[in-house]
Amino acid sequence: MKKHVNYLVFIILIILFPIFITENYTLSIAIFAGINTLLAMGLSLLMGYAGQASLGQAGFYGIGAYISAILAQKFGMPVLLSFCIAALVSALAAILLAIPALRLKGHYLAVATLGFGEIIYILLNELGPGGPSGFGDIPNISFFGYKLTSPREYFYVIWGTVFVLIIFSYNIINSRIGRAMRAIHDTEIGSSAMGIDVAGLKIKAFILSAVYASIAGSFYAHYVTFISPTSFSLFQSILILTMVVIGGASNLWGAVVGAVIITILPELLRKFDELDVLIYGLILIFFLLFLRKGIVPTLTERLKRKGI
């Protein structure tokens, strides 16, 4: 029941936010926070629950953005469909990455995913429309004839998706599939001995994280209506990792917290313009050294100890 209170509070916040905040700029930031949340959720499921490292999430983010944008803009495909196809392509890419990467652990896996993300980035740079400069005129999202134009509409659609996917994700986490994934995280040998198809589930975890990132990418492309490879570089992958580290990888709500913080940070750091890279790094180090479980798990632990 406690989980349902979380959901209720969350959906109420989502509904109320654009009613009280009507200024476009703030809404825009909130929209990016939502997109980042989807990215962080995907990584959290993969890393925090299934225990697989990934430094290449930006690759799937980029695939989601480019494929959907190209299909909608150059082939006139309805945006909803292009979202789905982009997700499919991402899923295929995830399988391509996951199958050979299955036997890798720790460092090797992390670097393999990094390599994958970089290759996607290079492909986008070389083969994407407009090359390094990117391209624009990407159509807004429209479904069944209704076109989304205002920030408020995008806010509701994106955060609505976050809400639905959080429920979906928690349903999985608390089901036999989720338990098996968490089991794999703790001990692979102890999982296969219980008949869990470790390889298959790892692949599924990768696919899940890739699809979430792809959806985020598609939202990004159709909201900003202009994309270029720079948004999908290694730094972006690291940013997503930072969100998960700050918020807490082992708790899905941590993804929300981490994403919101990372999205707001550049706004707060605006005056430190040249130091922003430095500050990100310092924050990451701080959390890794002193708060390595992340905000949400640390808070829930402290609250539990106080008997709440």
């Binding site: 890393m47 490292a53 430094l55 050979p100 990467a101 036997r103 890798l104 652990k105 720790g106 460092h107 090797y108 992390a110 670097v111 393999a112 990094l114 390599g115 994958f116 970089e118 290759i119 290079i122 492909l123 740079n125 070389e126 290694l234 690291i238 990792l241 580290v245 040249e274 130091l275 922003d276 890279v277 430095l278 500050i279 990100y280 790094g281 310092l282 990451l284 180090i285 890794l288 050294l289 390595r292």
Partner: protein, 295 residues
């Protein structure tokens, strides 16, 4: 035709030399700690930029600048180890990777702040006519890069195979407990490995800058390629890393020359992924060596 090929080959060997040094640096840290230091590239960048600072901005004499640069970068390696690696002694491997990534970001931030985004340069070590061989032009600095790289490689090998200190360092990663039991100060060895790697990277950066300039954000690309070199040779296998570095440099150069320059960065990645997926022990490693290391 041939002279063009030779030209590409040479520029590949030149940049490959730097990759070798980065790969060697990776191995030194890995052999002592089982950690992959993704900030390795930043040591190279610092080598170039700090050298510029001492020699061009402060107008110090060449040798003094070199020594000061090496000291400064070595110090950075030391500080990095003491502040971020040592406190996380028994942490999750993933945490270790992330913290080296974080350090690389911080270093990059500092470099960006101090040096901006412009490329930096300083004169080659010796001025003079380039050498011509079979129609290919070899600048004198290229010979310096190769010579210095080979010298460094030689010294490192001597260090690890012939000196007590070097052997002690090798013992640490294989079995830190046993190392401690025979009186090796593991903590100090780890610190030394970082300093040594930093110095190696710095030397690479100092040597290569007159040829290819240096910018604040060249670190990650160097790190990834150096890591590719280390993987190619088999993580932990220093000779392999060196050979891997040269191979990657040459393949990159040939790809850029004959195929398309945009894809040159992808070559190292593709090779690395191929090796990780099909022969994780590397071209020169063996399956047995994989299990000796804790990942």
């Amino acid at each position: 035709m041939f002279s063009l090929f030779l030209q590409f080959l040479l520029s590949g060997i030149t940049v490959g030399a730097v990759y070798s040094l980065v790969g060697l640096g990776f191995n030194i840290i890995y052999n002592a700690t089982s950690i992959i230091n993704l900030a390795q590239g930043e040591f190279v960048v610092m080598g170039g930029l700090v050298m510029w600072f001492f020699s061009q901005s402060l107008h110090m004499p060449f040798f003094l600048s070199v020594i000061l640069t090496i000291l400064v970068v070595g110090l950075v390696g030391l500080i990095m180890e003491r502040l971020t690696i040592n406190p996380l002694k028994n942490a999750d491997l993933l945490l270790m990777i992330m913290i080296t990534v974080a350090v690389s970001i911080v270093l990059r931030g500092i470099l960006m702040f101090k040096f901006g985004k412009d490329p930096y340069n300083y004169p080659p070590f010796t001025t003079g006519e380039p050498i011509m061989i079979f129609g290919a032009v070899i600048q004198q600095q290229v010979l310096w890069v190769l010579g210095i790289t080979l010298a460094c490689i030689g010294l490192i090998f001597l260090f690890f195979n012939k000196t007590m200190l070097g052997k002690a360092m090798s013992a640490c990663a294989v079995n830190p407990t046993a190392a401690k039991l025979v009186g090796i100060n593991v903590s100090r060895m780890i610190m030394l490995s970082f300093v040594l790697s930093a110095i190696l990277g710095a030397i690479g950066g100092i040597a290569i800058t007159p040829i290819s300039l240096m910018e604040y954000d060249k670190g990650p690309a160097l790190a990834v390629k150096g890591f590719c070199a280390a993987i190619m040779g088999g993580l932990g296998n220093s000779m392999g890393a060196v050979i891997g570095g040269f191979i990657i440099g040459i393949l990159e150069s040939l790809t850029a020359g004959y195929i398309h320059s945009g894809f040159k960065d992808a070559i190292a990645l593709i090779i690395m992924l191929a090796i990780l997926f099909f022969k994780p022990a590397g071209l020169f490693g063996s399956k047995a060596s994989l299990s000796v290391r804790k990942f």
